[in-house]
Amino acid sequence: MSEQNIGWSRDQMAERAAQDIPNGAYVNLGIGIPEKVVRYVPEGREVIYHTENGLLGMGDAPKEGQEDPELINAGKKLVTAVPGASYFHHADSFSMIRGNHIDICVLGAMQVAENGDLANWSTGNPDSIPAVGGAMDLVAGVKIINVISQHVTNKGYPKLVGKCTFPLTGVGVVKRIYTDLAVIDVTPLGFKIIELAPGVSFEYVQERTGCRLIAV
Protein backbone atom coordinates (compact mmCIF):
# COMPACT_ATOMS: atom_id res chain seq x y z
CA MET A 1 0.00 0.00 0.00
CA SER A 2 1.86 3.07 -1.22
CA GLU A 3 0.33 6.24 0.11
CA GLN A 4 3.34 8.51 -0.08
CA ASN A 5 1.44 11.31 -1.70
CA ILE A 6 -1.74 11.18 0.33
CA GLY A 7 -2.16 13.39 3.35
CA TRP A 8 0.32 15.46 5.32
CA SER A 9 4.07 14.95 5.43
CA ARG A 10 5.87 14.62 8.74
CA ASP A 11 6.80 18.28 8.60
CA GLN A 12 3.23 19.27 7.80
CA MET A 13 1.99 17.28 10.79
CA ALA A 14 4.46 19.13 13.00
CA GLU A 15 3.44 22.41 11.42
CA ARG A 16 -0.23 21.72 12.10
CA ALA A 17 0.53 20.79 15.74
CA ALA A 18 2.53 23.99 16.14
CA GLN A 19 -0.53 26.09 15.31
CA ASP A 20 -2.13 24.96 18.58
CA ILE A 21 0.73 26.15 20.78
CA PRO A 22 -0.17 29.57 22.17
CA ASN A 23 2.13 32.42 23.06
CA GLY A 24 3.75 31.96 26.44
CA ALA A 25 3.26 28.20 26.58
CA TYR A 26 5.66 25.92 28.43
CA VAL A 27 6.10 22.97 26.11
CA ASN A 28 7.73 19.56 26.26
CA LEU A 29 8.32 17.81 22.93
CA GLY A 30 8.88 14.09 22.58
CA ILE A 31 11.50 12.44 20.40
CA GLY A 32 10.87 12.08 16.67
CA ILE A 33 8.29 14.10 14.72
CA PRO A 34 7.32 16.12 17.83
CA GLU A 35 10.82 17.62 17.86
CA LYS A 36 10.02 19.29 14.55
CA VAL A 37 7.18 21.30 16.09
CA VAL A 38 9.61 23.92 17.34
CA ARG A 39 10.41 24.95 13.76
CA TYR A 40 6.82 25.80 12.94
CA VAL A 41 5.53 27.80 15.88
CA PRO A 42 4.01 30.90 14.22
CA GLU A 43 5.95 34.17 14.29
CA GLY A 44 5.20 36.39 17.24
CA ARG A 45 4.61 33.59 19.69
CA GLU A 46 7.21 33.13 22.41
CA VAL A 47 7.28 29.54 23.60
CA ILE A 48 9.51 28.07 26.30
CA TYR A 49 10.71 24.52 25.87
CA HIS A 50 11.24 22.19 28.78
CA THR A 51 13.44 19.14 28.59
CA GLU A 52 12.97 16.75 31.48
CA ASN A 53 16.67 16.23 32.06
CA GLY A 54 16.83 19.63 33.73
CA LEU A 55 16.50 22.62 31.43
CA LEU A 56 13.74 25.15 30.91
CA GLY A 57 14.46 27.34 27.89
CA MET A 58 15.95 24.79 25.54
CA GLY A 59 17.22 26.25 22.28
CA ASP A 60 18.31 24.89 18.92
CA ALA A 61 21.19 22.57 18.21
CA PRO A 62 24.54 24.26 18.87
CA LYS A 63 26.65 25.73 16.11
CA GLU A 64 29.74 23.78 15.25
CA GLY A 65 32.45 24.33 17.82
CA GLN A 66 29.95 25.35 20.50
CA GLU A 67 28.80 21.88 21.51
CA ASP A 68 28.88 20.95 25.19
CA PRO A 69 28.34 17.23 25.82
CA GLU A 70 26.85 18.26 29.16
CA LEU A 71 24.13 20.34 27.49
CA ILE A 72 21.73 17.83 25.99
CA ASN A 73 18.02 17.17 25.75
CA ALA A 74 15.96 14.20 26.89
CA GLY A 75 16.75 12.48 23.61
CA LYS A 76 20.44 12.95 24.46
CA LYS A 77 21.00 15.28 21.53
CA LEU A 78 23.21 18.34 21.87
CA VAL A 79 21.18 21.51 22.40
CA THR A 80 21.63 25.09 23.58
CA ALA A 81 20.00 27.19 26.30
CA VAL A 82 18.19 30.40 25.35
CA PRO A 83 18.67 33.64 27.30
CA GLY A 84 16.34 33.41 30.29
CA ALA A 85 16.83 29.65 30.63
CA SER A 86 17.34 27.79 33.90
CA TYR A 87 18.94 24.51 34.95
CA PHE A 88 17.66 22.34 37.77
CA HIS A 89 17.94 18.79 39.04
CA HIS A 90 15.80 15.86 37.98
CA ALA A 91 13.39 15.95 40.92
CA ASP A 92 12.72 19.64 40.37
CA SER A 93 12.32 19.00 36.66
CA PHE A 94 9.71 16.31 37.18
CA SER A 95 8.01 18.50 39.78
CA MET A 96 7.27 20.81 36.88
CA ILE A 97 5.80 17.87 35.00
CA ARG A 98 3.99 16.05 37.79
CA GLY A 99 2.80 19.30 39.34
CA ASN A 100 0.90 20.37 36.21
CA HIS A 101 3.17 23.28 35.44
CA ILE A 102 3.99 22.33 31.84
CA ASP A 103 1.19 23.38 29.48
CA ILE A 104 1.55 21.11 26.49
CA CYS A 105 3.37 17.93 25.70
CA VAL A 106 3.50 16.58 22.16
CA LEU A 107 4.41 12.91 21.98
CA GLY A 108 4.62 10.05 19.54
CA ALA A 109 2.30 7.07 19.90
CA MET A 110 2.09 3.40 19.11
CA GLN A 111 -1.65 3.32 19.84
CA VAL A 112 -4.28 5.76 21.03
CA ALA A 113 -7.66 4.51 22.21
CA GLU A 114 -10.91 6.39 21.70
CA ASN A 115 -11.08 7.15 25.45
CA GLY A 116 -7.64 8.81 25.30
CA ASP A 117 -5.58 5.89 26.54
CA LEU A 118 -2.04 6.08 25.19
CA ALA A 119 0.43 3.28 24.48
CA ASN A 120 3.83 4.51 23.40
CA TRP A 121 6.50 2.71 25.42
CA SER A 122 6.30 -1.02 24.85
CA THR A 123 4.92 -3.57 22.45
CA GLY A 124 4.68 -5.99 25.34
CA ASN A 125 6.99 -8.30 23.42
CA PRO A 126 8.73 -10.37 26.11
CA ASP A 127 11.96 -10.35 24.10
CA SER A 128 12.26 -6.59 24.02
CA ILE A 129 14.03 -4.62 26.71
CA PRO A 130 11.41 -2.61 28.57
CA ALA A 131 12.22 1.11 28.72
CA VAL A 132 9.82 3.81 29.77
CA GLY A 133 11.83 7.00 30.36
CA GLY A 134 9.68 9.99 31.28
CA ALA A 135 6.64 9.14 29.17
CA MET A 136 4.40 7.99 32.02
CA ASP A 137 5.28 11.07 34.08
CA LEU A 138 4.60 13.41 31.18
CA VAL A 139 1.18 11.98 30.35
CA ALA A 140 0.17 11.92 34.02
CA GLY A 141 1.29 15.46 34.74
CA VAL A 142 1.28 17.79 31.75
CA LYS A 143 -1.93 19.79 31.30
CA ILE A 144 -2.48 18.95 27.62
CA ILE A 145 -1.18 15.80 25.95
CA ASN A 146 -1.21 15.88 22.18
CA VAL A 147 0.04 13.15 19.89
CA ILE A 148 1.72 13.30 16.49
CA SER A 149 1.72 10.01 14.69
CA GLN A 150 1.26 8.33 11.36
CA HIS A 151 -2.35 7.25 11.13
CA VAL A 152 -1.40 3.60 10.61
CA THR A 153 1.63 1.47 11.41
CA ASN A 154 4.30 0.57 8.85
CA LYS A 155 2.33 -2.57 8.21
CA GLY A 156 -0.91 -0.67 7.74
CA TYR A 157 -2.58 -1.46 11.04
CA PRO A 158 -4.63 1.29 12.69
CA LYS A 159 -2.94 3.17 15.54
CA LEU A 160 -6.22 4.79 16.57
CA VAL A 161 -8.19 2.00 18.15
CA GLY A 162 -11.17 1.18 20.34
CA LYS A 163 -8.89 -0.23 23.01
CA CYS A 164 -5.10 -0.36 23.13
CA THR A 165 -3.59 -3.82 22.88
CA PHE A 166 -0.11 -2.63 23.83
CA PRO A 167 0.73 -1.87 27.47
CA LEU A 168 -0.55 1.56 28.44
CA THR A 169 1.51 4.67 29.13
CA GLY A 170 -1.46 6.46 30.65
CA VAL A 171 -5.22 6.19 30.98
CA GLY A 172 -7.48 8.72 29.25
CA VAL A 173 -4.71 11.24 28.80
CA VAL A 174 -4.63 12.19 25.09
CA LYS A 175 -6.50 15.33 24.01
CA ARG A 176 -5.69 15.72 20.33
CA ILE A 177 -3.97 13.65 17.63
CA TYR A 178 -2.24 14.98 14.54
CA THR A 179 -1.87 12.24 11.95
CA ASP A 180 -0.86 12.35 8.31
CA LEU A 181 -4.57 12.13 7.47
CA ALA A 182 -6.39 14.27 10.00
CA VAL A 183 -6.54 16.21 13.22
CA ILE A 184 -8.63 14.27 15.67
CA ASP A 185 -9.89 15.15 19.14
CA VAL A 186 -10.57 12.70 21.92
CA THR A 187 -14.09 13.52 23.09
CA PRO A 188 -16.44 11.89 25.58
CA LEU A 189 -18.18 10.33 22.59
CA GLY A 190 -14.97 9.08 20.98
CA PHE A 191 -12.59 10.24 18.27
CA LYS A 192 -13.85 13.32 16.46
CA ILE A 193 -12.37 14.58 13.21
CA ILE A 194 -11.49 18.26 13.55
CA GLU A 195 -9.73 18.68 10.24
CA LEU A 196 -8.93 16.49 7.24
CA ALA A 197 -5.70 16.67 5.27
CA PRO A 198 -6.19 18.06 1.77
CA GLY A 199 -7.64 15.45 -0.54
CA VAL A 200 -8.43 13.03 2.27
CA SER A 201 -12.04 12.01 2.83
CA PHE A 202 -13.74 11.07 6.08
CA GLU A 203 -14.34 7.58 4.71
CA TYR A 204 -10.66 7.20 3.83
CA VAL A 205 -9.70 7.99 7.41
CA GLN A 206 -12.46 5.82 8.83
CA GLU A 207 -11.22 2.82 6.85
CA ARG A 208 -7.81 3.20 8.44
CA THR A 209 -9.09 3.64 11.99
CA GLY A 210 -9.82 0.84 14.45
CA CYS A 211 -13.04 2.32 15.78
CA ARG A 212 -15.89 4.59 14.79
CA LEU A 213 -14.98 8.20 14.03
CA ILE A 214 -17.21 11.20 14.52
CA ALA A 215 -17.29 13.52 11.50
CA VAL A 216 -16.31 17.18 11.71
Binding site: N23, G24, G57, G84, S95, R98, G99, I102
Partner: protein
Protein backbone atom coordinates in the same frame (compact mmCIF):
# COMPACT_ATOMS: atom_id res chain seq x y z
CA UNK B 1 6.17 37.96 23.82
CA UNK B 2 6.13 36.79 27.38
CA UNK B 3 6.16 39.56 29.95
CA UNK B 4 4.98 38.82 33.45
CA UNK B 5 5.62 42.31 34.77
CA UNK B 6 2.59 44.23 35.95
CA UNK B 7 2.64 47.93 36.65
CA UNK B 8 1.27 48.11 40.16
CA UNK B 9 0.58 46.21 43.33
CA UNK B 10 -3.07 46.99 42.78
CA UNK B 11 -3.02 45.21 39.41
CA UNK B 12 -0.98 42.32 40.80
CA UNK B 13 -3.44 41.43 43.54
CA UNK B 14 -6.61 42.37 41.70
CA UNK B 15 -7.78 38.82 41.01
CA UNK B 16 -7.64 37.52 44.58
CA UNK B 17 -11.17 36.55 45.57
CA UNK B 18 -13.16 36.00 48.74
CA UNK B 19 -12.55 32.54 50.15
CA UNK B 20 -9.27 32.04 48.31
CA UNK B 21 -6.34 30.15 49.78
CA UNK B 22 -3.27 32.38 49.79
CA UNK B 23 0.27 31.31 50.55
CA UNK B 24 2.39 34.19 51.84
CA UNK B 25 6.17 33.88 51.83
CA UNK B 26 8.44 34.93 54.61
CA UNK B 27 9.82 33.64 57.88
CA UNK B 28 9.18 36.45 60.29
CA UNK B 29 10.14 39.58 58.43
CA UNK B 30 12.68 37.91 56.13
CA UNK B 31 10.98 37.48 52.79
CA UNK B 32 7.66 38.94 53.87
CA UNK B 33 6.06 40.59 50.81
CA UNK B 34 4.72 43.45 52.84
CA UNK B 35 3.67 45.68 49.95
CA UNK B 36 1.70 42.84 48.36
CA UNK B 37 -0.01 42.10 51.68
CA UNK B 38 -0.93 45.75 52.11
CA UNK B 39 -2.20 45.72 48.54
CA UNK B 40 -4.36 42.72 49.43
CA UNK B 41 -5.75 44.60 52.43
CA UNK B 42 -6.64 47.53 50.16
CA UNK B 43 -8.13 45.15 47.60
CA UNK B 44 -10.59 43.84 50.14
CA UNK B 45 -10.76 40.06 49.61
CA UNK B 46 -11.94 38.33 52.75
CA UNK B 47 -12.63 34.93 54.26
CA UNK B 48 -9.14 33.90 53.17
CA UNK B 49 -7.20 30.82 54.22
CA UNK B 50 -3.62 31.99 54.67
CA UNK B 51 -0.55 29.76 54.76
CA UNK B 52 2.56 31.28 56.34
CA UNK B 53 4.99 30.06 58.96
CA UNK B 54 3.84 32.74 61.42
CA UNK B 55 1.03 35.21 61.97
CA UNK B 56 2.87 38.51 61.56
CA UNK B 57 4.10 41.17 63.95
CA UNK B 58 2.63 44.38 65.29
CA UNK B 59 -0.14 45.88 63.18
CA UNK B 60 1.35 45.77 59.69
CA UNK B 61 1.76 43.15 56.97
CA UNK B 62 0.25 39.76 57.74
CA UNK B 63 -0.78 40.87 61.24
CA UNK B 64 -2.72 43.75 59.67
CA UNK B 65 -4.40 41.41 57.19
CA UNK B 66 -5.55 39.31 60.15
CA UNK B 67 -6.49 42.34 62.24
CA UNK B 68 -8.65 43.60 59.40
CA UNK B 69 -10.65 40.36 59.60
CA UNK B 70 -9.74 39.11 56.16
CA UNK B 71 -8.42 35.76 57.34
CA UNK B 72 -10.79 32.97 58.31
CA UNK B 73 -8.09 30.39 58.83
CA UNK B 74 -4.32 30.30 59.35
CA UNK B 75 -2.19 27.29 58.47
CA UNK B 76 1.16 27.77 60.19
CA UNK B 77 3.77 26.28 62.49
CA UNK B 78 4.38 29.13 64.92
CA UNK B 79 1.48 31.53 65.39
CA UNK B 80 2.95 33.38 68.33
CA UNK B 81 6.14 35.37 68.62
CA UNK B 82 7.48 38.36 70.50
CA UNK B 83 5.45 40.94 68.61
CA UNK B 84 2.47 38.89 67.51
CA UNK B 85 -0.52 40.38 69.25
CA UNK B 86 -3.28 40.27 66.71
CA UNK B 87 -3.64 36.55 66.12
CA UNK B 88 -3.64 35.47 69.78
CA UNK B 89 -6.47 37.89 70.57
CA UNK B 90 -8.66 36.69 67.71
CA UNK B 91 -7.82 33.05 68.39
CA UNK B 92 -8.84 33.31 72.04
CA UNK B 93 -12.11 34.89 70.94
CA UNK B 94 -12.65 32.00 68.52
CA UNK B 95 -12.72 34.42 65.62
CA UNK B 96 -10.02 32.73 63.58
CA UNK B 97 -9.31 29.09 62.84
CA UNK B 98 -5.84 27.57 63.23
CA UNK B 99 -4.31 24.50 61.60
CA UNK B 100 -1.03 23.96 63.39
CA UNK B 101 1.55 22.09 61.30
CA UNK B 102 5.15 21.26 62.21
CA UNK B 103 7.41 23.56 60.24
CA UNK B 104 9.11 20.82 58.22
CA UNK B 105 5.83 19.11 57.51
CA UNK B 106 4.42 22.47 56.41
CA UNK B 107 7.35 22.98 54.04
CA UNK B 108 7.09 19.44 52.69
CA UNK B 109 3.32 19.66 52.24
CA UNK B 110 3.78 22.84 50.20
CA UNK B 111 6.58 21.28 48.17
CA UNK B 112 4.43 18.17 47.61
CA UNK B 113 1.52 20.32 46.47
CA UNK B 114 3.76 22.03 43.95
CA UNK B 115 5.34 18.77 42.80
CA UNK B 116 2.04 16.97 42.16
CA UNK B 117 2.45 14.64 45.13
CA UNK B 118 -0.96 14.44 46.81
CA UNK B 119 0.26 12.77 50.00
CA UNK B 120 3.37 11.42 51.69
CA UNK B 121 4.51 9.82 54.92
CA UNK B 122 6.70 11.43 57.56
CA UNK B 123 7.95 10.46 60.99
CA UNK B 124 7.43 14.01 62.22
CA UNK B 125 4.69 14.28 64.88
CA UNK B 126 4.23 10.51 65.33
CA UNK B 127 3.04 9.89 68.87
CA UNK B 128 2.17 13.54 69.47
CA UNK B 129 -1.16 15.35 69.58
CA UNK B 130 -0.47 16.74 66.08
CA UNK B 131 -0.80 13.20 64.72
CA UNK B 132 -4.24 12.73 66.29
CA UNK B 133 -6.71 11.43 63.74
CA UNK B 134 -4.05 10.94 61.10
CA UNK B 135 -3.35 7.66 59.38
CA UNK B 136 -0.23 5.97 60.73
CA UNK B 137 1.65 3.36 58.70
CA UNK B 138 4.60 1.26 59.69
CA UNK B 139 7.21 1.18 56.94
CA UNK B 140 10.33 -0.90 57.51
CA UNK B 141 9.77 -0.96 61.23
CA UNK B 142 9.12 2.71 61.89
CA UNK B 143 5.80 4.53 62.22
CA UNK B 144 4.96 7.41 59.92
CA UNK B 145 1.92 9.68 59.58
CA UNK B 146 0.22 10.42 56.28
CA UNK B 147 0.29 14.10 55.36
CA UNK B 148 -1.38 15.73 52.37
CA UNK B 149 0.06 18.15 49.84
CA UNK B 150 -0.97 21.78 50.14
CA UNK B 151 -1.84 23.93 47.17
CA UNK B 152 -3.15 27.47 46.97
CA UNK B 153 -5.06 29.72 44.65
CA UNK B 154 -2.48 32.48 45.05
CA UNK B 155 1.00 32.96 46.42
CA UNK B 156 2.44 36.31 47.44
CA UNK B 157 6.22 36.26 47.60
CA UNK B 158 9.21 38.57 47.62
CA UNK B 159 12.47 38.22 45.75
CA UNK B 160 15.66 40.11 44.99
CA UNK B 161 15.76 39.94 41.18
CA UNK B 162 13.26 38.92 38.53
CA UNK B 163 13.11 39.01 34.74
CA UNK B 164 10.17 39.14 32.34
CA UNK B 165 9.97 35.33 32.19
CA UNK B 166 9.51 35.29 35.95
CA UNK B 167 12.87 33.74 36.76
CA UNK B 168 13.71 34.65 40.36
CA UNK B 169 16.62 34.82 42.75
CA UNK B 170 16.38 35.70 46.42
CA UNK B 171 18.34 37.38 49.19
CA UNK B 172 19.87 35.13 51.86
CA UNK B 173 17.38 33.60 54.32
CA UNK B 174 14.55 35.59 52.76
CA UNK B 175 14.35 32.68 50.31
CA UNK B 176 12.68 30.38 52.89
CA UNK B 177 9.17 29.39 51.73
CA UNK B 178 9.01 31.45 48.53
CA UNK B 179 10.33 28.90 46.00
CA UNK B 180 8.00 26.13 47.17
CA UNK B 181 4.99 28.44 47.47
CA UNK B 182 5.63 29.62 43.90
CA UNK B 183 5.38 25.96 42.87
CA UNK B 184 2.25 25.22 44.87
CA UNK B 185 0.05 28.17 43.90
CA UNK B 186 -2.14 28.42 40.83
CA UNK B 187 -1.25 32.11 40.55
CA UNK B 188 2.08 33.30 41.92
CA UNK B 189 2.48 37.02 42.48
CA UNK B 190 5.97 38.33 43.12
CA UNK B 191 7.35 41.60 44.39
CA UNK B 192 10.93 42.11 43.31
CA UNK B 193 13.52 44.64 44.39
CA UNK B 194 15.14 44.59 40.95
CA UNK B 195 13.78 43.81 37.51
CA UNK B 196 16.51 42.71 35.13
CA UNK B 197 16.81 41.88 31.45
CA UNK B 198 16.43 38.38 30.11
CA UNK B 199 19.81 36.71 30.32
CA UNK B 200 21.04 38.79 33.26
CA UNK B 201 20.35 35.92 35.65
CA UNK B 202 22.74 33.04 34.98
CA UNK B 203 20.70 29.89 34.14
CA UNK B 204 22.81 28.00 36.70
CA UNK B 205 21.71 30.22 39.60
CA UNK B 206 18.00 30.69 38.93
CA UNK B 207 16.21 29.54 42.08
CA UNK B 208 12.62 29.81 40.87
CA UNK B 209 12.25 29.13 37.14
CA UNK B 210 9.70 31.35 35.43
CA UNK B 211 7.24 28.52 34.87
CA UNK B 212 6.18 28.92 38.50
CA UNK B 213 5.58 32.66 38.30
CA UNK B 214 2.59 34.58 36.97
CA UNK B 215 2.97 38.23 37.85
CA UNK B 216 5.90 40.40 38.90
CA UNK B 217 5.71 43.89 40.35
CA UNK B 218 8.74 46.03 41.13
CA UNK B 219 9.09 47.35 44.68
CA UNK B 220 12.52 48.94 44.67
CA UNK B 221 12.56 50.02 48.28
CA UNK B 222 10.45 47.60 50.25
CA UNK B 223 9.30 48.51 53.72
CA UNK B 224 10.90 46.69 56.63
CA UNK B 225 8.40 45.06 58.94
CA UNK B 226 10.63 45.47 61.99
CA UNK B 227 10.99 49.19 61.34
CA UNK B 228 7.25 49.62 61.00
CA UNK B 229 6.59 47.57 64.12
CA UNK B 230 9.13 49.55 66.15
CA UNK B 231 7.51 52.77 64.97
CA UNK B 232 4.11 51.48 66.08
CA UNK B 233 2.68 51.71 62.57
CA UNK B 234 -0.82 50.42 61.93
CA UNK B 235 -2.00 49.47 58.44
CA UNK B 236 -4.02 50.83 56.81
Amino acid sequence: MINKQVSSVEAAVSKIYDGATVMIGGFGEAGSPIELIHGLIDQGAKNLTVINNNTGSGHVGLAALIENKRVAKMICSFPKSANSLVFPNLYRKNEIELELVPQGTLAERIRAGGAGVPAFYTATSVGTPLADGKEVRNINGRDYVLEYGLTADFALIKCLKADRYGNLIYNKTARNFAPIMAMAAENTIVQTKEFVSIGDIDPEVVVTPGVFVDQVVIISNPLLESVLVSAGEVYP
